[in-house]
């Protein structure tokens, strides 16, 4: 029994890490006022890009870096479409998600990828990235302007802040970290790329930010809860429990829904997200 708890915990940590990386990014994008649903596209395309690069260069580290870059490209595209050309951010996000799924599914049919040796040490990056994200948002001038852009874009603009620029920058940051999350999942954890391998983890990240009520600490706690739920789901057959695993897949979203319900009266969402 103790052994299985140990297994669940360690696999829980490994399943939490990709969510936590991406959540640090999504948190920033949302604080700046973008409900960024393309985080799924960022993670998925980064997962492919990292595996492809790692397989070409033979270096898992290069693969991780490539994932970061691919995620930033998605963030750059999203940022320019919705915060320069003023396209609806949800539509852009949906299109990017569909595009990433289609493109990566196509690419694995035309390329052969070598399996990579996992390098789980990159999980330690989280210990640096999470506090850095917090400091940037809560303590830096950039973060102050970012929060102002998310809470009241009109007032921020009148004060001389370039709201759209801040939001594009936030999406770049989000792309980098969501990319790292996707790359970690592919190169660091699985060691290969499967079709739709993120399987909605991007949406899980969005759910975590909502669960965390737009606070970083609670958001990361949400990631841990979701990661453990996932680990539990995978461990159930071995434990001899016959609980419908689909229910556990749905559990994180149910939690996010409950969290939203309980914050209904004291909504802490950035005000720009509440419009429309």
């Amino acid at each position: 029994m103790l052994e299985s708890v140990d297994t669940i915990l360690s696999s829980g940590v490994r399943l939490t890490a990709p969510l936590a990386f991406a959540a640090c990014g999504e948190y920033v994008a949302e604080r700046a006022g973008t409900m960024n649903i393309s985080v799924e596209a960022m993670m998925l395309s980064a997962a492919y890009g990292s595996v492809a690069t790692a397989s070409a260069t033979g270096s898992a580290t290069t693969g991780l870096l490539a994932g970061v870059l691919v995620g930033m490209v998605v963030g750059w595209v999203h940022g320019n479409l919705s915060h320069r050309l003023a396209l609806n951010t949800f539509v852009v996000g949906l299109v990017l998600n569909a595009l990433a799924l289609g493109l990566t599914s196509y690419l694995i049919t035309v390329s052969t990828l070598d399996s990579q040796r996992p390098s789980q040490a990159s999980i330690l990056l989280l210990l640096g990235i999470a506090p850095l994200t917090w400091w940037l948002v809560e303590r830096s001038r950039w973060g102050l302007e970012l929060r102002a852009s998310g809470e009241d874009p009109r007032s921020a603009a009148v004060t001389g802040i370039r709201v759209d620029a801040r939001r594009r920058q936030a999406l770049l940051w989000c792309g980098a970290l969501a990319g790292l999350g996707g790359a970690y999942l592919a190169v660091g954890e699985v060691g290969s790329f499967n079709q739709n391998m993120t399987a909605g983890r991007g949406y899980l990240v969005i759910a975590a930010v909502i669960f965390g009520a737009w606070r970083l600490g609670r958001t990361l706690l949400g990631c841990a809860v979701f990661g453990l739920a996932d680990a539990l789901r995978l461990a159930l057959p071995a434990l001899g429990v016959t609980l419908n695993s689909q229910v556990l897949v749905a559990a994180p979203y149910l939690l996010a829904l409950l969290a939203m319900l309980s914050f209904r009266t004291s909504s802490r969402a950035p005000r720009a997200l509440r419009q429309g």
Partner: protein, 501 residues
């Protein structure tokens, strides 16, 4: 006195609309300069040009004798132009000190920012806690924060756009005293934008009057009289009561309270509304008789906006009852008040209109409608209302957005009255309107009351309440502090009730 700022030949058009037409404005050191004009006269556009928020089509800006380039807001801030906007530019979930340093550059230093706030606050007498969140502050306190934010940058020219629209009389007086201190400090000037004559005559040294984008008068305030200013501003003779309202002069109400003995058409009992745990309405009760105008007067933030929302069906109260014509209304059912015959002119007319829908569609919204409305009949009905209420519209198919504030207000009024209400609730019906439009709206209310409708007039403008109402109820901390017949409602007695007995 030397000339601090000169605007020469500033022109700006938005499509076919000329907002500013070769406007000249000279502001001297050490003066409070009034900028007077109706809504849409070009005051705000002119100042947005100065502040770099709007790019001008033509003209030059000369600051301390040098022609300067104003490309954007940061540019203007660098030149020492600061502005307190009508809609304050504060980010509400942030703290006071965070808001104050928002436009700065460089490292965020909380201790220094707080010290700055306190230093400016002490220098000009604007007490505020730098650590509190802006959304927990009152309207007056927010104005102070906005002032501190501007003053900390040591501006040479400080612009205030309709600064008293949300302030009480006392807070306004305090603000003007602060402005005196501001200009007395070295080499500085204040531009005060307003359409309230009383404010301009009381607080400014010189005044420039704009009408339809042109300067029609400029000179020392002491050498003009309020009626003169009103004529310059409006360009026509204005109705006595509208002028009186604009001047802040009190006129006797048209009729005495003879109708209060009739059975009330609107009966509100023990209304309670909690917002975030604090009571905004705390057992409020009042009656409105048919044919009377009951004025609800009080300082902003005492619950009158909540009462307006309840009667508009936007807020479901936590307790209490509303009866219309003796019938209790189920307030949890949307549209119940409307069906019972309550017409509402809300405080923000944009909530009463769908701005992107046409004039005809907006007017038809309260009319009974079949599943397939006949557009020709709808337009015909709209045409009649537009004519009857004198609404200036480019066309019946123009979006409501294209109308000026006064005409939007007439549009709301026309629609609400076309449904033949038994009760009309109007919240701040003349806020932001010019003198001509105010007179028109007031006449409409009187006519409606003469026809036997019970009118509840919610207003923070004392002169408006006294000009129209036959009885005045004073709201304080979410309850009625007292009700006076209009002839007994002197400023003093009301002031005592407002102060909270």
């Amino acid at each position: 006195m030397t000339e601090l700022l000169q605007l020469r030949g500033i022109s700006k058009r938005f499509g076919p609309v000329v907002a500013c037409d070769a406007v000249d404005l000279t502001v001297r050191e050490g003066e409070v300069h009034g900028l007077l004009g109706e809504n849409g006269a070009g005051k705000s556009t002119l100042m947005n040009v100065l502040l770099g928020l709007t790019q001008r089509d033509a003209g030059t800006i000369i600051h301390r004798g040098k022609t300067v380039h104003v490309g954007g807001p940061r540019n203007a801030i660098g030149l020492g132009f600061g502005m307190v906007h009508q809609q304050l530019s504060l980010v509400e979930p942030l703290t006071v000190w965070e808001n104050v340093i928002l436009g700065d550059r460089g490292r965020v230093d909380r201790a220094k920012a707080c010290a700055d706030v306190e230093a400016v606050a002490a220098r000009y007498g604007l007490p505020v806690d730098p650590l509190s969140r802006v959304d927990r502050l009152s309207a007056g306190e927010r104005q102070r924060v906005e002032l501190i934010k501007c003053l900390r940058r040591d501006p040479s020219v400080l612009v205030l756009d309709e600064p008293t629209s949300l302030l009480t009389e006392a807070e306004s007086a305090e603000l003007f005293a602060v402005l005196r201190r501001v200009v007395r400090a070295e080499r500085r000037a204040v531009i005060l934008i307003s359409h309230r004559l009383a404010e301009i005559t009381a607080a400014t040294d010189r005044v420039t009057v704009l009408r339809r984008g042109r300067v029609v008068h400029t000179g020392r305030t002491a050498e003009t009289t309020p009626p003169e200013l009103a004529r310059w501003m409006v360009g026509r003779e204005v109705a006595v009561e509208a002028e009186a309202a604009a001047l802040g002069v009190l006129v006797a109400p048209a009729q005495a309270a003879a109708t209060t003995t009739a059975a009330p058409v609107l009966r509100v009992r023990d209304l309670r509304v909690l917002v975030g745990g604090t009571p905004r309405l705390d057992g409020l009760s009042l009656d409105v008789a048919p044919g009377e105008i009951l004025g609800l007067y009080g300082v902003e933030g005492n619950g009158q906006d909540v009462l307006g929302d309840v009667l508009a069906g936007l807020v479901t109260p936590d307790g209490g009852t509303v009866e219309v014509g003796g019938q209790p209304i189920d307030l949890t059912r949307p549209g119940a008040l409307h069906l019972a015959g309550v017409g509402v002119v809300p405080e923000d007319r944009r909530t009463a209109l769908v701005l992107d829908m046409t004039v005809a569609e907006n007017l038809a919204m309260k009319a009974p409608m079949s599943a397939f409305p006949n557009r020709r009949r709808m337009r015909a009905a709209a045409g009649r209302l537009v004519e009857e209420y004198g609404i200036a519209v480019p066309s019946l198919d123009a979006p409501a957005r294209a109308l000026s504030g006064g005409n939007q207000q007439r549009l709301v009024l026309a629609r609400e009255l076309s449904a033949a209400p038994r009760v009309l609730v109007a919240a701040q019906p003349t806020q932001g309107l010019d003198v001509g439009a105010i007179g028109d709206v007031h006449r409409r209310f009187q006519r409606v009351a003469d026809q036997g409708v019970g009118v509840l007039l919610i207003s923070t403008a004392l002169e408006e309440v006294l000009a129209l109402a036959s009885r005045v109820a004073v709201i304080s901390s979410g309850r009625i502090a007292g009700i006076l017949p209009a002839e007994e409602a002197t400023g003093e007695r009301l002031g005592l009730l407002v102060g909270g007995a």
